[in-house]
């Protein structure tokens, strides 16, 4: 799992960390039964305060994505397949909305956008 933070975004750091870990869990990048990096390790790596990571982890515990195993760390729990799918689809919907907005502001037609999506799809 790689977390990339923006220091100029209006989204708070803990929120950015939480979202990226949540996506990694939903998509299976971090498997059930694995431990998240320790709070202090991640804080040092990302150059954020310990409290910032603590806040992100506590929220993930509240969302029942991870469990705090005292003394051992934060354990990734089984993902509810339906919830994961909904979250991933929501993520896609957001990206599509951005794509359409960008296309409209570039005065592109729907066909042009669809063609670009197809090209991108085939490249991957």
């Amino acid at each position: 799992m790689q977390i990339i933070l923006s220091s100029t975004s209006s989204v708070p750091m803990y929120e950015q960390i939480k979202t990226q870990i949540r996506n990694a869990i939903h998509s299976g990048d971090i498997a059930e039964g694995a431990f998240l990096p320790s709070l202090r390790q991640l804080a040092a790596e990302l150059r954020v305060s310990i409290i910032t990571v603590t806040r992100a982890y506590n929220d993930l515990v509240a969302e029942e994505l991870v469990a705090n195993e005292h003394g051992r760390g934060f354990l990734v729990l089984a993902v509810d397949a339906g919830a994961a799918q909904r979250a991933l689809e929501q993520h896609v919907s957001g990206a599509v909305a951005n794509l359409v907005a960008a296309g409209r502001s570039a005065r592109m037609e729907l066909d042009d956008i669809t063609r670009k999506v197809e090209e991108e799809w085939k490249q991957l």
Binding site: P12, Q41, A44, V48, S49, I51
Partner: protein, 307 residues
């Protein structure tokens, strides 16, 4: 939370300390174990005095400073567990950096000479140079190496980042983060350059004119305070809610308020989250106003100081 019980590396209660015209007044504050606490305030607010008191270098007039639950400030047992970085290297100017361990190591029970030499190398401090031949950045790093080499639990740094370039400041923050990998470690970091604490400090103590204006989590500070700016007329009923109110001759105003008080201002007032600097500046302004503008005049004896 990671730790269910928060212990205090430092507990200060009822501290009074007078030095000339300056005084720390009724300071009650704790520094939690396992976190980085920033100590901020304008020059002359008492940051260094507070640090010297907790190191036992100055005796308070009243109150207690307890370290690690059960030790008084200034005892050798407490000193052994504290690493200190002050504004100058605490070594003779003619000593060579690499020889310092042999000279002062015996003062500590856990001095680790191998580790000290490794730190000098890692921090790019030339071991053959004399203390007075080092740059500001190298001096801070030498102080840090001296502080870390005796394996302290609490690291106290007084204005370590002033005079450092951006690269050295980042190195310093990285070294502190590495120190904080151990949950039993604690850092107290004083500075008047508050952006140095962003993304580093967990807790913050704002000191203005010898008093604690705010002590708590840094991100809560940003949530609890806001800056309000508006055009005339200033809503007089809101005056008691303002901290460090500034009224321009045009009638435009600016003040720090608690987020709960935003409703006192009309919809055309602009309200924004407060930065750490906003909090420091407005509390300092408030302290100056309540003392009749006499702060910090060195010759002015403030009769209020001792209760």
């Amino acid at each position: 939370m990671e730790a269910t019980v928060t212990t205090q590396a430092v507990a200060i209660t009822g501290l009074q300390l007078r030095r000339g015209s300056f005084a720390l007044r009724d300071v009650n504050v704790g520094i939690p174990t396992g976190f980085v606490t920033g100590l901020v305030g304008p020059n002359g607010a008492g940051k260094t005095t507070l640090i010297k008191a907790l190191l036992g270098l100055i005796a308070p007039d009243a109150g207690t400073l307890r370290l690690f639950d059960d030790q008084d400030a200034g005892t050798s047992a407490a000193q052994d567990r504290i690493g200190v970085v002050l504004d100058r290297v605490t070594a003779a100017p003619e000593w060579r950096a690499g020889s310092i361990g042999r000279r002062i190591g015996a003062l500590y029970t856990q001095w680790d000479e191998t580790y000290f030499q490794q730190l000098l190398e890692r921090f790019d401090v030339p071991a053959g140079n004399r203390v007075n031949e080092l740059s500001r950045g190298q001096s801070v790093k030498l102080s840090l190496a001296m502080a870390l080499a005796h394996r302290p639990e609490l690291l106290v740094l007084d204005e370590p980042s002033s005079g450092l370039d951006p690269v050295a400041r980042r190195d310093l923050a990285d070294i502190l983060r590495e120190f904080m990998l151990d949950p039993n470690h604690t850092v107290l970091f004083s500075t008047h350059i508050t952006p140095d604490l962003d993304d580093l400090a967990d807790h913050i103590i704002v000191l203005t004119a010898g008093r604690v204006a705010y002590a708590g989590m840094l991100d809560e500070l940003h949530e609890r305070f806001a800056v309000v700016r508006g055009r005339a007329p200033f809503p007089e009923n809101a005056r008691p809610a303002t901290i460090g109110l500034r009224l321009e001759s045009s009638g435009a105003y600016e003040a720090l308020i608690r987020t709960d008080d935003t409703a006192l201002f009309g919809s055309d007032a602009m309200i924004e989250a407060a930065s750490t600097d906003d909090v420091v500046v407005h509390f300092a302004e408030q302290a100056r106003a309540t003392r009749g503008g006499s702060d910090p005049g060195p010759s002015v004896a403030d009769r209020e100081e001792i209760h």
